[in-house]
């Protein structure tokens, strides 16, 4: 009797146990392919910084992150880029390295999705209002390691010149200096 019960059980529970084990293993072993980690820069290719400018066509303001869709101008990196002051609250080293790594975005997509800081951090970095559709902004930041249209600014500038810092956590790779002709 006991033997029979034990036998049935094993038959019934083994598949479930295997699903659980496989699921846990799969999740644990494939972090780089998941589209995760908006909190960190792990999903961004932080070796190459890109300059973008454009018009906001969509805003989702609020927690956990502000998201903005930008229609790009495909502009060149502005004159005297390296001399542009960093926004308030910027980390000097990370800000400088990002500026030096900046090249024009040549990825060809007409629009990019910008993942920005949540409202509380925006306020701490000096932006006390919502971003609005129709605004023109400039940004410098990184593309996703897996390609696609996601862009993570390290800092951005409003049309009136106000800069807003965006970075809290460390870069997985240091930004590499852009070729001399880029600036």
């Amino acid at each position: 009797m006991a033997m029979t019960m034990e036998g049935n059980t094993t038959m019934f529970l083994k598949p479930l146990l295997m699903i659980a084990v496989i699921a846990t293993l799969v999740i644990a072993t494939q972090p780089p392919r998941l589209a995760f980690a908006h909190h960190s820069w792990a999903a961004s290719d932080t070796r190459y910084a890109y300059y973008i400018a454009g018009t906001i066509i969509e805003v989702r303001w609020g927690n956990p992150h502000v998201e903005v869709r930008l229609r790009l101008d495909h502009a060149a990196v502005p004159q005297n880029w390296i001399k542009r002051p960093l926004p308030p609250g910027a980390d000097a080293q990370d800000g400088r390295d990002t500026m030096i790594s900046t090249r024009a975005y040549t990825g060809g997509l007409p629009e990019l999705d910008l993942t920005l800081a949540p409202p509380d951090w925006m306020a701490r970095w000096g932006l006390h209002r919502r971003l609005e559709v129709g605004e023109h902004i400039e940004a410098v930041g990184f593309l996703n390691v897996n390609g696609g249209d996601e862009f993570r600014p390290v800092m951005f500038w409003l049309a009136d010149g106000q800069g807003v810092w965006q970075k809290l956590l460390p870069f997985p790779h240091r930004p590499e200096p852009a070729p001399a002709s880029s600036h």
Binding site: M5, E6, T9, T10, F12, L13, L16, L17, I19, A20, V21, A23, T24, V26, I27, A28, P31, R33, L34, A35, F36, H38, H39, R60, W61, G62, N63, P64, H65, P118, P119
Partner: protein, 164 residues
């Protein structure tokens, strides 16, 4: 329901006043996150304690039914808390969550955990009086405990990969 209809439904959810409140109401989002963590602590903490008893920990001291009577209500309150706060936070960023590779894992693991609970309670747990205390727990109960602990651990991991 086609994928496009689902996407439209999620977009509608994101644009609802609930979702807008979740995103912009002062202190609401961190409060939801805190209560979600508290719910996880209550749910997973009590469940893992029950799982350990089923695996034989303190089997000569603590009857299984005592452990389940006092801890499973805590896990139910925890579950209610994570469901309510989780759905609220989901509404704020429904499309991003649905598009994440971690989402089917999280949902799948919760479903497996749920099936495991049903199999356990309507199966081997009916004979708990035979192995309540001072006895080895049956293989089925130990297997259920392992599945439970793995599923909830996996759910937490998937949840962190899902998290913005």
């Amino acid at each position: 329901m086609t994928a496009i209809q689902l996407w439209d439904a999620l977009r509608w959810l994101e644009r609802s006043s609930l979702a807008e409140a979740v995103r912009v109401a002062p202190f609401l989002y961190p409060l939801l996150e805190s209560l979600h963590v508290l719910g996880i602590a209550m749910l997973v903490g009590s469940v893992v304690a029950v799982d350990l008893r089923l695996l034989g920990v303190a089997r000569n001291v603590l009857p299984v039914t005592t452990v389940t009577r006092y801890l499973l209500p805590v896990s139910r309150i925890g579950f209610l808390l994570v469901v309510v706060t989780g759905l609220a936070m989901f509404s704020g960023i429904a499309r991003a969550v649905a598009g994440s590779a971690a989402a089917p894992w999280k949902l799948g693991l919760i479903i497996v955990a749920g099936i495991n609970i049903l199999v356990f309670h309507f199966g081997v747990y009916r004979s708990v009086h035979l192995w309540d205390v001072n006895a080895a727990t049956p293989m089925r109960a130990r297997a259920a405990a392992i599945i439970s602990a793995l599923c909830w651990t996996g759910t937490i991991i998937a949840g962190r990969f899902l998290a913005y």
